[in-house]
């Protein structure tokens, strides 16, 4: 029963402008398959949004065209903490309910921007012997906050963070990254490794960075240094007594 008409009909159903309308990728909650299958299965019942204890999952607004009501995670605001609750409540299996271990989640992959990451900058300065920024800062936050430390993020040469295939894409590193205004580590959603294709996700990340630049409350640059130099502990003494009696004892 395959002829020209059925093929035409199939082609109409599978590749029309409407179909690609929503192909702006988002970071979906854990357990979501690829974007196309997810959009077909998701009935926008908002149960995963309701059940999320960290308010990580947000609800897509009216302005996102056909994506209205679908859940997404925006790790710069709030990352996914892999509590594995949302996939259990999904009524259609858009989020795979068989997934119980956070290790098998593949929401996306973290990508480190080596021009911003403090550790990479420090390493470059160390190699050339010239400090480009005038400061020497070491960070390692992403390595510390990663739920799968030494598996998903490893420290190369003890200072350079490198993301491996075991990255779940939860985005905790992105949330906690101290680099401003742009985060040095970003999550590229599953199946969208190219920066251009991240669409709305990428665009919003840019806007977010600019907003943060403008905000007056944030301490940055020399102000932050001044503020930090005020912290003085030269005269401070501990308010407990040292117990030195047992120091020589053998354990």
């Amino acid at each position: 029963m395959r002829n020209r008409f059925t093929e035409l009909f199939e082609g109409l159903l599978n590749s029309n402008p409407f179909k690609n309308y929503y192909k702006k990728n988002r970071l979906r909650p854990p357990g979501a398959a690829n974007e196309e299958t997810f959009m077909e299965l998701c009935i926008r019942c908002a149960r995963c949004i309701e059940v999320c204890p960290y308010d990580s999952i947000e609800r897509a607004d009216l302005f996102e065209k056909l994506q209205i009501g679908t859940p997404y995670v925006y790790p710069e605001n709030k990352a996914c903490y892999l509590c594995m609750r949302c996939m259990k409540v999904c009524p259609t299996g858009a989020l795979n309910p068989k997934l119980t271990d956070g290790k098998h989640v593949r929401m996306g992959i973290a990508v480190i921007n080596q021009n911003i990451c403090l550790n990479f900058l420090y390493y470059k300065d160390e190699m050339t012997g010239v400090s480009s920024t005038g400061t020497a800062q070491l960070c390692g936050t992403c390595y510390n906050v990663c739920p799968y430390t030494d598996e998903a993020i490893v420290m190369e040469k003890f200072i350079l963070p490198v993301v491996t295939d075991k990255c779940t894409g939860c985005g905790i590193c992105t949330e906690k990254c101290p680099a401003t205004p742009e985060k040095a580590i970003a999550i590229y959603p599953e199946g969208m490794p190219v920066d251009k294709n991240t669409g709305y996700f990428g665009r919003r990340s840019k806007v977010h960075g600019e907003e943060r630049k403008k905000s007056k409350d944030a301490l940055k640059g020399e102000k932050l240094l001044e503020e930090k130099q005020k912290i003085d502990s030269s005269d401070a003494k501990p308010d407990f007594e040292y117990n030195t009696e047992n120091y020589d004892q053998e354990w």
Binding site: L12, L13, N14, N16, F18, K19, Y21, Y22, E36, T37, M39, E40, L41, C42, I43, R44, C45, A46, R47, I49, E50, V51, P53, D55, E58, R59, D61, L62, L66, I68, G69, V89, C90, P91, T92, G93, A94, P97
Partner: protein, 266 residues
Amino acid sequence: MKIKRYRRAAQLLTVFAIFFIPVLNVFELYFIKGTFISMDIGDAAMADPLAVFQSMIAAGRVNEYMLGSVVIPVVLMLLLGRVWCSWFCPYYLCAEFMSWMRGKLRMKAYKPKFAENIHIKQSKVRYIFLFAGLVLMAVAGVPILNLISAPGIISTQAMVLVKFHYVTFELVFVAVLLLLELFYFRFWCRFLCPTGTFLSFFRSKRGMTVRKVRTECSDCMSCVRSCPMMINPMTMGDTSHCNNCGDCVDACPDNKKEDTLKFTFK
């Protein structure tokens, strides 16, 4: 005791639940969770059959989670008829409120005169609208009929309001529908609502239906006048249009003397 009182109590309870369930979830009590598109009570999952049907078509496959979540609504539909619409749907309550408002404002809505074949016209519009929606959905590959499901929008917006403290523009759609409700008598529930249309496919004649028990009555036609779905409850109680609201049973003057129009199981 009038049936309307029980019905009103059930409707108000659902409106209360719409706001109370998200509050429970904010305090991390997860016994009941979800919105009126899909809900969990304990381990029993329920979902809007139309929503699940759409995702079945769009994805082209069926899995056990989909089937499991449809069981309870379909069984309820087979046993009690389309009680979801009249007894629980929050939009239906709003529409009834708008009818009451219309009375207060002394406006006259467009309400066609009763005719025996009016339900056939209604059916045509309903099924064509549902079918067109399903075709559009297949083209887009996204369950878009959920976006115009009025009770779904109301309950999702309530959840968003409680959890994130804002509402989105989808609520404007419901507001427009309710405004139009002032001018056209129950046009959404009678003609267009895709959820109600899809639910009425599961209407069984053996479930709860309104029937005329006695052969003769005073023929006052007050049941016909009271029916919000514009059908004749004496003869068409078992069609898919009737949503078992019980307004006709309340309106019947003969019921006081002897049971004439009653809810019966067959």
